[in-house]
């Protein structure tokens, strides 16, 4: 009986060995197939990024399916009969162990069976399981390893659009385009270390995380812009006040260069000029001093509320100059300092204005993207309020004498309106037919120009464009609001078939009535 246990022991060892080998082979075989799926998903993800939740669901489903497959395939155990058949195959025993195991389980009184068992026992003693089943790495292991390595490499590829699935990263719910991202970056740089920058950061972050919709983000950006542009109103008042003060100071010759700098909004230069005047104060003739003191007093008196501090210092300087040149010098220095501080403040506000412009562009871009998602037709017909009504309405109307940047906003707004009207024309010719003549409802303010007498004096022609109406930005840099299709339509020499009727109608409308007589 103990001898028969030898065969059973051998078969047990073989069974364990075969089972572990089978399981390893099965696991690697399944992995070598199953890993193809996440790899394909990852490749697709590199082209068109999946959202985080999609990644989690995909990986979860894959993991569950793979685990189920693994369990299903590796479940069950080999019987000793199967182990006997296996060892027969491995050692080429021609079913000796299978037969022996059968006769162990089904004892027989035959001497022949005893002989068979005896021979099988002798054979079992000589068999080494480790030799029969040498440990080997299955071929599928290499494939599975390679697939896994590629998957890991793909996840850690240093690409901007790549998301590491090992950290369950995925594409944000809302992906900013490169242009939009550039606009955001520029706006943040301009709004550096301000609350507005943090607010913008928060809006963009919430938009990307899907906490707010694109429409809500546009609204919040619009609110942020209004907040930023609120400071621009003060800037406009300052500029207006500086211009008025400059007009007054220009009456005095020593203050002419200072007035010029103030009129140009360059308070740094104006401060330098004031310091120059202070240096020369001791040698300045008394009548000139008086005239300066008088003009400075008048300029300080007529200044707007935004320049109260500056006007107070100017008034003090005028008073000091009248009494004591040394005290006047100190007062002028104080005035120069105040001018520099104001220059700093204006610079900050100009940056904010530029940031507002960037945000306006961003808002417009987001709106266009949303419109294109809803449908191309809607996108064409929808007017773009952010430029024509937002930027133009807020800064253009309220500050006709504004800084170049503010004026730029205004210009951009008008351009947008034109673009919107254009698109409206292209999209709905019947509206065009029913339309009436329109005009710009803008009342331009009078402005003071260099070399023009404040009051009286002979009139003169100035071959120069208005400073306020000149855009600081090259027209080529103004972003077009037209879609590529619209641009193509404008650049074509041939008229598109669907637009021909509109053009014909247009020329018929503008044709002089007298020439409309048919030629005989």
């Amino acid at each position: 009986m103990a001898d028969k246990e030898l065969i059973i022991g051998l078969l047990e060892r073989v069974r364990r060995r075969v089972r572990s080998e089978r399981r390893f082979k099965t696991i690697y075989a399944i992995l070598s197939i199953a890993l193809i799926f996440p790899l394909v998903f990852k490749l697709i993800d590199l082209i068109s990024a999946f959202r985080g939740i999609t990644v989690v669901i995909l990986l979860g489903l894959w993991a569950v399916a793979t685990a189920t497959w693994l369990i299903w395939r590796t479940r069950g155990e080999e019987t000793l009969s199967q182990a006997a058949a296996n060892v027969d195959r491995a050692a080429q025993l021609q079913d000796q162990m299978k037969t022996a195991y059968w006769f162990i389980r089904h004892p027989s009184t035959s001497e022949w069976v005893d002989v068979q068992l005896e021979r099988a026992i002798q054979k079992a003693e000589r068999l080494k399981v480790e030799t029969l089943y040498p440990g080997s790495i299955p071929k599928t292991f290499h494939r599975a390893f390679a697939l896994m390595a590629v998957f890991v490499i793909l996840n850690f590829l240093p690409l901007s659009q790549n998301h590491n699935w090992f950290y369950l990263q995925g594409a944000p719910p809302f992906q900013l385009s490169r242009t939009d991202q550039a606009l955001v970056d520029r706006a943040k740089k301009l709004l550096e270390k301000t609350e507005a920058a943090e607010e913008l950061e928060k809006i963009i972050s919430e938009l990307q995380q899907g906490k707010i919709s694109s429409d809500a983000a546009q609204q919040q950006i619009s609110d942020l812009r209004q907040e930023i542009d609120g400071g621009n109103l003060e800037l406009n008042n300052i500029l207006d006040g500086l211009s008025a003060m400059a007009n007054q100071l220009r009456q005095s010759e020593p203050l002419e260069s200072t007035a010029e700098a103030m009129s140009a909004g360059d308070l740094g230069e104006a401060a330098d000029q004031v310091r120059g005047i202070a240096e020369k104060l001791g040698v300045t003739p008394a009548d000139v001093l008086r005239e300066m003191q008088k003009n400075m007093s008048q300029a300080a008196t007529n200044s707007p509320s935004a320049l109260q501090h500056l006007s107070r210092l100017m008034k003090e300087a005028a008073e000091a100059m009248k009494n004591d040149p040394e005290a006047g010098k100190v007062a002028l220095d104080n005035l120069a300092q105040a001018m520099e501080q104001l220059a700093q403040k204006m610079k900050g506000q100009q940056q904010q204005s530029q940031a507002s412009q960037q945000l306006a562009d961003l808002q417009n871009s987001l709106q266009q993207e949303a419109a294109s998602e809803r449908g191309a037709e809607d996108a064409q017909l929808t007017p773009i309020p952010s430029q024509g009504q937002g930027a133009g309405g807020e800064s253009g109307d309220s500050s006709p004498n504004g800084t170049p940047s503010t004026g730029n906003s205004s210009g951009n707004g008008q351009g947008s309106q034109a673009a919107a009207a254009n698109s409206s024309e292209l999209g709905a010719p019947e509206d065009l037919k029913a339309g009436e003549m329109t005009k710009l409802d803008v009342q331009l303010k009078m402005e003071g120009l260099k070399g023009q007498a404040a009051k009286g004096g002979p009139p003169q022609d100035i071959e120069e464009a208005s400073k306020q109406e000149r855009s600081a930005m090259d027209y080529r840099n103004v972003p077009s609001q037209l879609s590529p299709a619209q641009k193509d339509a404008l650049n074509q020499n041939r008229l598109p078939r669907e637009q021909r009727e509109i053009v014909k109608y247009y020329f018929e409308e503008i044709r002089p009535r007298a020439a409309a007589t048919p030629i005989k």
Partner: protein, 330 residues
């Protein structure tokens, strides 16, 4: 105890080898056929040898009969051969007192080794005369049944069925053959040896190495070899796979076979396997043994359907498909 069995196995191998060696003195090549013919003799079966004329079928049988010390008779089957010409008949004979008595005159079937030469040249009626003798080892004439002397071994030769003037053996007759062996043309090398042996003055002589009792002992030895149930099941699965439209059918059988093997086929597989195991110094049957005898044991038991006949499918092709598709263990 085990030594006795091992000696028995060794003796079996020696006797088998001796017979084979003696036959090989006359018959060139055909080692497999000689071996299978001896196997059939030791398995208490009969052999059907098929081949075109002139390949040495009859010579093989006559040589075998010379090697074993047994009574041999030869029946040349012809279309006008009658059953009584095989079994024998009652004749009227004058008794000692002058009375008329019926006496049974035994036919050529009453021998240990019977050569049924060109068995398919006789009519099916005459062919059927062998049925009882081959299976029950008895001959019934009138109301009397005569037992045939043991060992009784029929070796039939037949020409391929396509040849002129042949009658196909009935299924029942075919099934009684333990094996059907196909005699092919000898190779060029063997042909040269055949010419050397048969075209000279002196002819090879064989000696008798086996007698009837020894054959019967060897038959007992064969039957003693144990076979484990999984191996036996394997033989059963192979046999069942020859049947069309059964759960164990092989697709080839389903398509081309009209009728599969009878249980005699499975018996032939097992007994043939046992002999082969002994020849390989084993005291158990393996699946290899079953496979080795499968062609000879099953090829004549598979009957082709119309499609199989039309496409000239060889039954060996079906058996090959079955052997490839049937798993050793389930």
């Amino acid at each position: 105890m085990s030594t006795a069995i091992e000696q028995q196995v060794e003796g079996f191998q020696n006797q088998f080898t001796a017979v084979k060696k003696e036959i090989a003195k006359v018959i060139v090549g055909y080692d497999d056929i000689i071996e299978c013919a001896i196997m059939a003799l030791l398995a208490s079966g009969h052999v059907l040898l098929e081949g075109v004329p002139g390949l040495g079928k009859t010579k093989l049988v006559s040589t075998l009969s010379e090697v074993v010390h047994l009574k041999f008779s030869r029946i040349q089957f012809t279309p006008d051969l009658m059953p009584a010409d095989i079994t024998g008949t009652n004749i009227v004979r004058e008794g000692e007192k002058g009375e008329k008595v019926l006496e049974f005159q035994t036919g050529p079937i009453f021998a240990n080794i019977v050569l049924a030469d060109e068995v398919n040249r006789a009519t099916p009626k005459t062919q059927s005369a062998l049925l009882e003798a081959m299976e029950e080892q008895t001959v019934s004439v009138g109301k009397t049944t005569y037992k045939l002397e043991q060992p009784f071994f029929v070796l039939a030769t037949q020409n391929p069925l396509e040849m002129e003037g042949t009658y196909p053996l009935p299924e029942a007759q075919l099934d009684r053959f333990f094996m059907k062996l196909k005699v092919e043309y000898p190779t060029a090398g063997n042909m040269s040896t055949i010419l050397n042996r048969t075209t000279r003055l002196e002819e090879p002589h064989v000696t008798r190495v086996l007698d009837g009792p020894q054959i019967l002992d060897m038959r007992k030895t064969v039957r003693s070899v144990p076979i484990a149930r999984p191996i036996q099941d394997y033989a059963v699965r192979i046999m069942m796979a020859t049947h069309p439209n059964t759960p164990l059918s092989n697709p080839l059988s389903t398509r081309y076979a009209r009728c599969g093997s009878s249980p005699r086929g499975a018996q032939a597989l097992v007994v043939g396997g046992k002999i082969r195991a002994l020849l390989n110094n084993r005291v158990y049957v393996s699946c290899d043994d079953i496979r080795a005898v499968a062609y000879g044991a099953l090829r004549h038991r598979l009957l082709l359907n119309f499609e199989g006949e039309a496409e000239r499918i060889d039954t060996d092709t079906i058996i090959k498909g079955i052997l490839e598709a049937t798993p050793e263990t389930i």
